[in-house]
């Protein structure tokens, strides 16, 4: 168990002048579960592989437990990694796979057997110990990969999209299992995913990356409620936050052809201070509701009924699309004209249209 510190860590891929990871700074506490999330090409996997020693740290540094890891080979870092395709040794049995690291460390066969059986019990793999990986299902292989990591009792777990090869139902199950296991073991964990739901549900804190740069590093609630820029706002949450760029008026913004949205007084002040003609507003779908009068006039394009809730996809004027959550029993019909207004507790986020930076 250990703390992890990324200090201005950068990585350049060979044959490219672009930084895969650009001056990353992260302070990860002992026992914390941190999720690196971002779209593909955001550098999240590279950041993880730098920690594991599989990718060079070209600039800056990474410390594990206060020790600088630059130039330390993977085998000396005391890190266990779960790979996306599990990377189980095909020629070894499940027990041999899980015990390989202990064998390399010179742990006696009896001791090894004991630890492997303990881990197998936790992961419900006891009856598969003598099988080869080829004879296991996807979910079982995933558990073996987890087992190989926990048997070693390493300082750090690295997980690189370990659930992406599972089907949807199993993924949700395994998600909670991994999170629970990590809480119980208390091992510092860095987990990479492109799935923001995984990030929100599993992480103590979540680091959102884009183009190799850290956007925001905060708790899931903080990311959801106070995104630092339009990218984070749009990336976290499903369906995504409504983000539309609209002209500013005297008491708010104009949405669509003849509707407007009023803003708080201090937000207006900040808008006028910024001296912008247009602003990108962000409202979460669950903070928009149907209204009888006032609000924004929209036309319904699609209703997505999920049983417990419905999402109403609409447009107001050309190029302005808004999604609102609604009660599935009272959801409007297709092509119907309805009015949407901000929920009384709802928040309108304001971002600069050009940089996406948060204004208020």
């Amino acid at each position: 168990m250990a703390t992890i510190t990324y200090k201005e860590a950068s990585c350049i891929y060979e044959g490219s002048d672009k930084l895969a990871v650009d001056s990353l700074n992260l302070d990860i506490e002992d026992g914390e579960f941190v999720v690196l999330v971002g779209p593909s090409g955001s550098g999240k996997s590279t950041a993880l592989r730098m920690l594991a020693g599989l990718e060079d740290i070209d600039e800056g540094g990474i410390e594990i437990g206060g020790k600088d890891m630059v130039g330390v080979s993977p085998k000396d870092r005391d890190i266990a990694m779960v790979f996306q395709n599990y990377a189980l040794y095909p020629n070894k049995t499940v027990a041999e796979n899980m015990g390989f690291a202990l064998k390399l460390r010179g742990v006696s066969a009896a001791e090894r057997r004991k630890k492997v059986e303990e881990a197998a019990k936790v992961l419900d793999l006891e009856q598969f110990l003598d099988r080869k990986p080829a004879k296991l299902s996807g979910g079982q292989r995933q558990r073996v990969a987890m087992g190989r990591a926990i048997v070693r009792e390493p300082q750090v777990f690295c997980m690189d999209e370990p659930l992406s090869n599972l089907d949807a139902k199993l993924r949700v199950q395994t998600r909670t299992q991994i999170a629970a296991l990590q809480r119980r073991l208390g091992t510092t964990t860095v987990y990479v995913t492109h799935d923001q739901v995984e990030a929100m549900t599993m992480g103590d804190r979540v680091a959102v990356l884009r183009d190799g740069k850290l956007q925001q590093f905060a708790s899931p609630n903080e990311l959801y409620d106070n995104p630092v820029n339009a990218f984070v706002a749009g990336f976290i949450g499903s369906p995504a936050m409504n983000l539309v760029t609209v002209p500013i008026t005297a008491d708010g913004v104009r949405v669509g052809d003849n509707s407007s949205l009023e803003l708080e007084r201090d937000q207006l002040t900040r808008l006028h201070d910024a001296g912008l003609a247009e602003v990108t507003i962000g409202i979460r779908p669950e903070q928009l509701e149907m209204a009888d009068s006032g609000g924004i006039e929209v036309v319904v394009d699609l209703v997505e009924d999920l049983g417990s809730e419905a999402y109403v996809y609409t447009h107001a004027g050309s190029g302005i699309q808004l999604v609102a959550r609604s009660n599935p029993r009272t959801a409007p019909k297709l092509a119907e004209t309805v009015r949407l207004r901000k929920h009384p507790d709802g928040v309108v986020h304001l971002f600069k249209p050009d940089t996406g930076e948060r204004i208020g």
């Binding site: 594991a52 020693g53 599989l54 080979s73 993977p74 085998k75 000396d76 870092r77 890190i79 266990a80 990694m81 790979f83 395709n85 990377a87 189980l88 040794y89 095909p90 020629n91 390989f100 690291a101 390399l104 460390r105 990986p133 080829a134 190989r148 070693r152």
Partner: protein
Amino acid sequence: MTTTDVQKSVEAPVQKSKVKRRKFDPWGAVAWIVGLGFFFPVFWMVLTAFKHEVDAYTTTPKFFFVPTLDEFKAVFDQGVGTALLNSLFATTVSTILVLALGVPAAFALSLRPVRKTQDALFFFMSTKMLPVVAAIIPLYVIVSNIGLLDNIWALIILYTSMNLPIAVWMMRSFFLEVPGELLEAASLDGASTWRAVREVILPLVSPGIAATALICVIFAWNEFFFAVNLTAVQAQTMPVFLVGFIAGEGLYWAKLCAAATMAALPVVLAGWVAQNKLVRGLSFGAIK
């Protein structure tokens, strides 16, 4: 009632597949024809080896005759022992050398690619582009100057360098099948590169090593051009020995076939041994 119904439904797919198998498959017929076409000359060679010289020359080829071992005896009297031992020695040693050099090279050029990997691969292949005939005179001069004419070590060096490019390319394709994550996983588990290769990678590519070794054995065993030009009596190999039976006068077909059968036998055995390994490799499965 119900039990029979269940049994029927269980048996049904089995019957279906049997019916499928019995259906006439034109490609299967083509495969048999081609296969027999390849096999027949070999079969005829073995058959002729057991004939008397006179029987070998009949214009209506004889399928039924009194078999004899006389021709094999004649081959032994000609001193096949030296040639056989030379061939065995040159083939074994050169194959071991090729694997010892080629497997690490292929590993480096696949799982641990470095700068100029493509150039290195092309260099290996380019050494095979020059016809051997074009190089034989300089080779002869060199071998003669270092005093290795009619010495089996000259052939070993040449066979090693002749087979090395093929082995590197072949082994590389097998290494490329191995996911790179396996090496990474092993190194995170605390294995040195050597340990990871030995315990994780080599077992996975062993069918590939068997296939490569077999190819090298076949090429080295059957090599004729270097052998006939660079050896005389002492370092003579089987292919050169065989040619010795082609006489200007007299009957020699049966004797030649007997010698050829003996020459083919070790390679057939090597192929059979490697085949077990190759088949095991095919059923190995699920690397990914």
